[in-house]
Amino acid sequence: MSTVNLQISERRTERGGSIGRRSAGLFFVLPAVSFTVVFFILPLIFTVYMSLHDWPLLGDHEFIGLDNYSALLSDRQFWNSLWFTTRYTLLITPVIFILAFVLALLVSLPLPGVGIYRTVYFLPVVIGLGSSSLLWVWLLHDRVGVINAILTGLGLMDRPIIWLADSSYAMTAIIMSVVWKTVGFTMILLMTGMQAIPAELYEAAKVDGANYWGRLRYIMMPLLRRTFALALILSVIGSYLGFDQFFIMTAGGPQNSTISVVYWIYKNSFTNFKLGYGASLSIVLLVILVILSIIQLRLLRDETSY
């Protein structure tokens, strides 16, 4: 399809001078635009439409107005999932940020070999979250897992913990695995922000008698605010959309205590095949995320005038 467009655009360009060039631009962007419309914009509109219907996988769908949304308000598991996802995001974000900040400081030091450390800390980022979650299921296993073996071997625990089946440990275990997998991403973002700060600023502060911590506190931190905001948006959105880690590591258990919002959408839509209800949950999630993004973008914009 796209090759046809290209031929047309080329011919027009040759023939029609600047006007031809005009439509040529449209033809170049057309394939990407069509994909976006067919596989993103239309599905998005369709999600809204479906959310107003009782829509089983097989058989007829029926318009029910806002019934899905009112059902959602009294859906206990939805609220539990929303609260669980929020709690997960609130817990994991500071862990990622503090660790990523320390790592970024370390790998920004001008010392030989520092590039190797940077690569190593970043390496888990390129592994899929699904694969890393499975890897940690094995590491954390109570019988064959190495983490329990090490902890009991060192005498830190009397007997192995069944990490993922115990609601008090499951959150810790999941956070541990996701931090391992994602912290390098935030580290690189922060490091790039640090490198963008002109060295003269540090020099000037040094002349004025500021020590390392002073320079960190009064020069780096304020100038990094924009980078922090960006990294925060990406991290919060990523956590809010978490699915793989819960589906794989705990399957939502124990007692449905680790079902994230996306997981609840998945269960309703593709296990119970209540597609209309799943669509209404999707819209609510979308609205929550857009609001979160706008709040955080505002944080970012305030910064530009700095």
Binding site: S2, L106, L123, S131, A149, A199
Partner: protein, 295 residues
Amino acid sequence: MTTSVSAVSAPSTAHSRGRNRPGRIAFYVVCTALAALFLFPIVWTAISSVKPPPEASAVPPTFLPSRLDLGNFVKLNEYGRGVWNYVGNSAGTAVMTVIGATLLSTLAGYGFSRFQFRGKGLLFVMILMTLMIPFQSILIPLFLILTGLKLQNTLFGLALVYITFQLPFGVFIMRNSFDAVPREIEEAALLDGCSSLSMLYRVMLNIVRPGIITVGIYAFLNSWNEFLAALIFMTKETSFTLPILLTSVRSGYYGSIDWGALQAGLIVTIAPCIFIFLLLQRYYISGLTGGATKG
């Protein structure tokens, strides 16, 4: 755009470099310990995957393999249609995604960077807007659309969806790449009578190649690693991609989990990502910093 990740900055200065010997030693001790922690899960999986199968599931786990043994990989191959079927599914989807995403992004990047046309701003914003909308929220209609087009359980259908998910990033990166090409180059080529398509093909493509590679790497990794869409769209066992195969290996055939096969499967899944990243690290990082900090 800073493509290299050279390290100069942070509140430390050249001054404090040579002086502080204990500090330097502490730096290397801490960094090496951290590196060991980060590498451990991957290295441990690699070591365990080449243990003889009984050792791979030993309770408690043993440390080094008593001998090298590919038994775990053989057992992995006994799942479903054999592991090559699933490597083929993942690779086929990834190749189609890479080709589609780079082609569409390059064309669109060129169009948005070098041409004026009505609705240009609106269309650009529309493509980038999809970044703000999580794809997780449109999976239900996508599922119905793919089913309607009879593309459910096909690599092609999955690739179509993955290509679309890659477009906002890809178009953004490619638009920036073309923006960075000096106009003079283009004007010279225009005087030589180049049409806009042959200009793109003969002149521009070489210059924006780093951007294309960046888009390609992200397309590959995201397609290879994606889990939720593959879980929903690929319901037939023969169509599984590797991450989905792994979950079925993990649930086991007869209730007991074959840990050795899982370790082997993890290595098969993880190794290409690490290999490609190490090979093309520069482009990957430039996509992250260029795409992120300029956005």
